[in-house]
Symmetry: C2
Subunit: 384 residues, 2 copies
Amino acid sequence: MLSFIREMGEISRSDLAAEFSLDKKTVSGAVDELLRDSLIVPAGFKESLAGRPQELLTLNGSHSNFIGIDLGGTHIIGILADLSGRPLDRVFFEIRPGLPVDIILDQMKTICRRLMGSEKASAAVRSIGICAPGFMNPATGASIVAENIPGWRDVGLREIFEGEFARPVLTEDSSRACALAEKWMGDGKGRPDFLLADLGYGIGLAIVVKGELYTGAGNKSGEIGHTVVAPDGPPCACGNRGCLETVASGRAIARQALAGIEAGRSQLLKGLTHGKAENVTAQDVAIAASMGDPFSAELLASAGSLVGLALANAANIVNPSLLILGGGLIGTTRIMEQSIAKALRANCMREIFEDMELRVSKLGIDGSALGCGILAAADVLGRV
Amino acid sequence: MLSFIREMGEISRSDLAAEFSLDKKTVSGAVDELLRDSLIVPAGFKESLAGRPQELLTLNGSHSNFIGIDLGGTHIIGILADLSGRPLDRVFFEIRPGLPVDIILDQMKTICRRLMGSEKASAAVRSIGICAPGFMNPATGASIVAENIPGWRDVGLREIFEGEFARPVLTEDSSRACALAEKWMGDGKGRPDFLLADLGYGIGLAIVVKGELYTGAGNKSGEIGHTVVAPDGPPCACGNRGCLETVASGRAIARQALAGIEAGRSQLLKGLTHGKAENVTAQDVAIAASMGDPFSAELLASAGSLVGLALANAANIVNPSLLILGGGLIGTTRIMEQSIAKALRANCMREIFEDMELRVSKLGIDGSALGCGILAAADVLGRV
């Protein structure tokens, strides 16, 4: 019921009774208990032409706070959120690919500690949600493998963070966490079915079916980054060749950018790296492209074209009504999304393309961290 | 309840009561009604060490008969089945690709009429299930388009056959019909989630999630035949380029075989066509390959390799626990399936490959027709 009240925003007792097919007395009992526990609060009255005015109820965001931590390939983002998912505070750490596992874990803990002591908190932190790229073990909360973080194998995130912070820790893979945020507060709101393409240092796909995350037989669904788009292409960290991630991920774009700088193809891009070309990121490429650098624009356009091909192939199989483009590669310039849209049009069956709405995420690079905060709220709401 | 009794095979009243959380009296009332309507029959007694022997109940297959008709690219298959899905009679018509729509419809009606008057019937024909390749309109029962049948647009199958045979007509796309048969009597039995690759003149994919066919936003899911595996490949009937169907379907194999015969690359294959090379089919290629023809074996192996690549990409996204290979291209030789298996291993993420059982359909070329018979039985069972 609590989860439903959140979804509705504001709702009256009688609408609750109708939704759950319960009599008014039962609903009033349940509502009184939620009010007593401060999980919901009154929110004025429903306008009505006749009859007794009906009191509206809404979720009490300040009941408890949650921390969401997104470990990405080039950043760690921490969000402090309230029970309604509203972000209260944020910490952003840039990390260089290739950092040792224990340094990464230390940085994640530092972020967690900072948010725990945030002055912007509206209540005590109740639980923590953490996401990482790659496979997650839902039983143990361990991150099984993250191809893009060398040496990252069977990292017991839940165990480590529950030990450190003495609070429940919930874990999920980054793309699915991002889809949760879209479902709560983004373009996925009120949409039972959608796809979320998570385009960042790695590439993932979350699939929402009938309002729930589709997880696959072994909790490994959504590995669109490892669908093969270039059968004789470069070797991938996963052991295969020509995976989408090897040619179109943030990691691949950074690699191509470095090669371009070394070949003298972009002075602008080189300038952005302050003499350390080996540190060039896909973000630098996006900035250079937005400043008019043709080499950078071309890199993003080709990557977008391959991402669009892979997404078209997924759409031809799934026939979604909505595809949301999210992740760190989206937002700085429109070049990549335009190239994705073009490739979708060229490679989707026409009828399937026509069924599909294409949106660019409004959550930006924070999508997965917001989703982790929401995931943590499941500890109170029962489900998210 | 009827559908559940079918699934169980044989079940006692008290097991039914437990399954549906009903008291014995309510179950007995429902069971008596089903017995009175001859929808179920007694099936002996449950062995028990103590207590009163419990009577078992089973679906009465002879309650009613059903016709299933599968319109394929190179054949029309009709099946007469009983309520339990057991096939009683079968009619197989070979058709040449490119036949006019009205001739195809006439042949489908002829098959229907022959099965209607079959001496092997065990009861009156109650309803008819029809499948065709491509998109189906679930509201009207019309076949919207079949890329592989020229001129086939908005063919009102339900309307036409209900008008002709005065019985309910249910329609579905061929791959999903085939998956229904796998779910009832094939390797999909008792499996809540699986993928069925339908490899024939065209190529389709059916997705079963939580025991139900996944249909997509616009009833168009499963178009793996139109996922792009060769971005600069040949033009496809769908309007795009390099779709899997243009390089690996029965239609594509036949086209490649004709080119090979004309280039003098296989005397054996040429011989099988009795001087009419233009009529060569993928079936001829499979027969020639099974007789040791290297050119034909190579055609099937390359097609299998591309089918395997597309299926690996789908598996990386869906993470299925079971993949069944079915359709007319499977069964004559093992060359194609071996090549598919090899490409799956090469292109799936290792962890996803390990989650996935790979099976070859035991239903052969009849899968979709059997599924149509089962679809028709929904008219009695309520759901299939």
